[in-house]
Assembly symmetry: none
Homo-oligomer: 412 residues x 2
């Protein structure tokens, strides 16, 4: 694996005002060439770029520098690189003409500073920029006889300029550079309703015993992604282990949400869903309706926060609430049944619980929840949960549990 480093200039990113968009874009683009980003540095606009480049020159094989190529006073990437590599900057007539044309079409007055963008270090390849005035630059390894250097790409900062340049001009160079490398195979598995530590206990040692495998995890409330990469045979061996240990919990091997999987399964089976939410507060409906095509399977949802609404809208018996409390198995089941019958859906999910921070009791502390599923052709089920966390995580965890239980039912 070649060592790839991204150096990102951007004071506004360091202030927390703008999110960096380059790392995710470049990482995904270079994966096809068997390349992986080893490090990203975000540094201020201006002179800091010199220190960072010098720092990584020795150990990186491919360096992408983004930003600092424009016309303003803190755009100094081009000049600092030329100085570091002891290369002369010469004005390129083609770039100058492109800048002149671009500005005149847009009736933008030409200032003296603009022409700095036509300066090119001797030996650099120009990467044309159709979305702006500053072209990208590629400096091949050891372009200067004075200083050793890696493959060096200087790219403009705005994503809408960088991304087309990358696809049109950088990708072909990377293909040439990496010819002969064998890009690694990669597979990912999204597991529902599992903690990272349990997944690692089941898989970690067994998978890491495979020579040359790389194993990674990513957790979000209610799900873990397991990712394996390496030689194709190693990845296949890892996949066999994951399938044999955790097949039930794998809800997808693609980039899709658990709600999207549920929508897909319902859609395939020509079935429909309605939901009745107390403590998840609309999150089930929101996640389902984020899926394109949800309108085919999702009939509707009820967010019944008050007892009156549970009685009026879902047909829960007032006596059940009085006797067992709104947070109870009985009420969850009545909510689910009432919703499914009312909406004439194939399946319904109901949630009721105590999200906190207040409202808990000794018997039913904050984090207590009941989730019920009612289906046309199966007996209803209800599960009790205890998920003490902040409100948002509580809602997420219960939603993931609900979708996963329905998913398993749809696959049964």
């Amino acid at each position: 694996m070649r060592s790839v480093v991204i150096i990102n200039t951007g004071t506004e990113i360091l202030l927390g005002d703008v999110a960096d968009a380059h790392l995710a874009f470049i990482a995904r683009e270079i994966f096809q060439f068997g390349l992986q980003v080893e490090e990203q540095r975000i540094i201020p606009d201006g002179a800091a770029i010199g220190v960072a480049i010098r720092d990584v020159f020795a150990r990186a094989e491919i360096v992408f520098v983004t930003g600092g190529l424009g016309p303003t006073t803190d755009d100094v990437t081009r000049e600092i690189v030329a100085e570091l590599l002891q290369l002369e900057l010469i004005e390129d007539t083609t770039v100058r003409a492109a800048i002149r044309d671009r500005l005149s079409i847009r009736h933008i007055p030409v200032t003296k500073r603009v022409w700095r963008q036509a300066q090119v270090p001797v030996g650099a390849e120009i990467l044309p920029n159709e979305g702006g005035t500053a072209p990208g630059l590629y400096l091949p390894p050891n372009v200067s006889s004075a200083v050793a250097s890696p493959h060096l790409f200087l790219l403009p900062g705005p994503p809408r300029e960088l991304q087309p340049i990358f696809r049109q001009s950088v990708a072909p160079i990377l293909r040439r550079i990496t010819a002969g490398l064998h890009p690694p195979a990669m597979r990912k598995f999204q597991l529902a309703v599992m903690g990272e530590s349990i997944v690692e206990k089941k898989l970690g040692a067994k998978i890491l015993a495979i020579p040359g495998i790389e194993l990674g995890y990513r957790s979000r409330p209610g799900e873990v992604e397991v990712r394996v990469s390496g030689r194709p045979e190693a990845v296949e061996a890892a996949e066999r282990i994951i399938q044999s240990e955790l097949a039930d919990a794998i809800f997808t091997t693609e980039d899709e949400t658990l709600a999207a999987v549920v929508v897909r399964l319902l859609s395939k089976q020509g079935e429909t869903l309605a939901v009745a939410e107390s403590c998840t507060g609309g999150l089930l409906a929101h996640q389902v309706t984020d899926v394109p095509g949800a309108s085919k399977v999702f009939l509707g949802g009820y967010v019944t926060y008050s007892n009156e609404e549970k009685i009026r809208a879902l047909g829960v018996a007032a006596s059940s609430i009085e006797r067992f409390g709104a947070v109870s198995e009985e009420v969850a089941l009545e909510m689910a049944e009432g919703t499914r019958r009312g909406a004439q859906a194939t399946h319904s999910i109901a949630t009721t619980g105590i999200a906190g921070p207040s409202g808990g009791t000794v018997e039913k502390p904050v984090g207590t929840a009941f989730m019920a599923i009612s289906s046309a052709n199966y007996a209803p089920i209800c599960r009790k949960f205890f998920l003490p966390s902040d409100r948002e995580t509580f809602k997420q965890l219960l939603a993931q549990n609900a979708f996963d239980l329905l998913r398993r039912r749809l696959l049964a």
Copy 2:
């Protein structure tokens, strides 16, 4: 200005699968102490952390390391830092007890690996983690007699663990460290339903004419944050400009969502809310119920995706749907009225529209939406929108518009 560096471990970030959330959070939190991030490095999980830390030790005064404190094999931050500083790791009985309690409450089986998280380098201060098992650690400058070191904070990777630790334990330490510095004044203004370019056009030139002012923007769907900092007099002058140009659009000068502002206003006025959602699909209810205390003002919500549900649950006339279509002013108003009457709420919001990607027509293309508000003591209103975007952004934009219109009504 002290030199602050963030080192972020995260193979999944370098692979482009997850966006880094720490830089923006930390940058904004430390601003109040007059601190600014000078550099962020994102490096892989595992041994690379040693190289990065050694690299920045010499020139940084405050270093935040995020990630690598968990129980898995690639979590090695604690061990590598102890080795670098030649500090012994000793199990802390308080941390061990906290881990044991946390796991036993959740009925999570205890594995051997878990106890690594109770290891603490000699001289480190423990920063308790209420959202997870691994505590944060603070190592004061030169904590080891063997190796010179800066202020060093080791923090867990998941944002929902890191953020509370930062606010509860890191901020007080930073306040102590920076006592005597004169932090700049800072004010922020969250503006509803405005694009960044319009805000900049109204404010940019006027504010930047104030000597010594710094101006920043941050956009999210349906809102823009304007931030000004500098000498107190300069910030006051900027505030006067913002208030005179855009007072109506400012929904808060704190860190709170527009939904939270609506819940606060309703609560103060002893009023209640119900919602009927077609195209926002549960997002209104979800955002309202994310606010602690929402149960006092939020009676319930209906997500009526199908026409049948609009008729059955909300009392919309079948003839209105037939004559005007489900996406129409008439149906939006009937949804709002039916919901408010049914739930006996003071106010109701209704949405109906075409989120896409399919379902658009020439007359009502994807992105068309109607939003109505019905209130006990005012005439109902309905607004038409055209918000062509992806499904999620469409839902967000319409939700922000709905909450902002209700906010203005509550303030009228």
